[in-house]
Amino acid sequence: MTESERPYTLVAELTYRCPLRCVYCSNPLDYGRHREELDTETWRRVLREAEDLGVVQLNLTGGEPLVRDDLEALVEEARRLDLYTNLITSGIPLRRERLARFRELGLDNVQISIQDTEAAPSDRIAGLRAFDRKLVVAGWVKELGFPLTLNTVLHRENLDRVEEVVALAERLGADRLELANAQYLGWALPNRAALLPTRAQLARAREVAAAARNRLRGTMEVLFVTPDYYTDLPKACMDGWGRRFIVLSPEGLALPCHAAHTLPGLHFDSVRDRSLGEIWRDSAGFRAFRGEEWMPEPCRSCDRRGIDFGGCRCQAYHLTGNAAATDPTCQFSPDHGLIETAREAAENTEAPELIYRTERGGSMGEERRSLPPIS
């Protein structure tokens, strides 16, 4: 490990439990198998160890972090450590008094997900009647003086309504709007044929977002994240493996990204057994794809290897079966045909039924593997 590897952000996945069943959830398909959540004291210790490593940003997320009744204690500890703390939530279940208490304890920012701009399509994606309640909670966030981030995951069904999403964000007084296209990992991968947009849809939405960004400059930050399937060059996933982020899974595995524990053959350590610092520096899992030693061609001799770090390891594995392959979203990848085929299917085929997130996902995962190759 070199000096250039310093974690700035701890993504604390406090639980995989969630009242919503979103069809693009980034939690692993077999999340139902991971039930043993860390206790409060261990989380508090991990926050201290993270701050000591250089972490300044804390994302409290899940699953739905509000289902943990010790969230107050964690916010309090984060504030004591002067971490910038962001609660990433569906807004459900939340009472106004609890939110006010988080404000007193020093929570910095609240991010609420809105699936769409109206109740019916939004609730369809979430698998729960949640939309109206979310708007109420977003209102509380602003009334209590928090900055509000609104996050809308974009896909084929809502990508033509970005203008309405922007209008809703303005009406709610959002400080930041994340228009984040679904990335096809976790639950979004088995739902890919239903969710992947067409190129024309994406181009229009990007224009709308750019216009909104210019118009709202200085009042609302507007972020538009393109799906990897349409970038032709991979993104620097997590800013590079084990460089800037630590994701802690609900049961205590310290990971370089949300889905690293879905990669076979890698060993990740638990904070129950080792300190976060030791794991960050020495664990086999964190070292596996650090630096450039592991890179195959065309990455190894590519000018962009220090920019994108070879892209997303999980995408490489889940599409090609090899976690050390070049990210297939890269136009120079020998497997890029997988992406092109998926894009062609988005132009030419009817969307199939949605598959909702469920605790029986373990078997879901098996099913998916037994399907014909998803290309």
């Binding site: 003086g145 928090f146 900055p147 400080d175 200085g218 609302m220």
Partner: protein, 92 residues
């Protein structure tokens, strides 16, 4: 536009934090952060919604022993960038 008469404060989503690893101030906001050079930190620490940009310039020119017009140009440019990014706000 930011002018010498503007009174600025940090946006609600932004917070200064001293980073002992780099011995610099950071400006933190959702999912991001800026590592500030000492001048930028001096400027932002004074954006309290009370002082005008002009008075911040006078203070810093004195503190650094620089000519006020040069400091003013630099500070205005920096604060305009920060305002465009929604990290500082003018108080009415």
């Amino acid at each position: 536009m930011i002018s010498a008469e503007s009174r600025l404060r940090l946006a609600a989503k932004a917070r200064l934090r001293f980073d002992r690893k780099s011995s610099r101030y950071m400006l933190l906001y959702p999912e991001r952060g800026l590592v500030l050079n000492p001048t930028a930190a001096d400027v932002l620490q004074r954006c309290d919604g009370e002082r005008t940009v002009g008075s911040i310039v006078t203070e810093l020119a004195q503190q650094y022993g620089h000519e006020a017009p040069a400091v003013e140009r630099e500070v205005l440019e920096f604060l305009q960038t920060m305002a465009d990014r929604g990290l500082v706000r003018a108080t009415p």
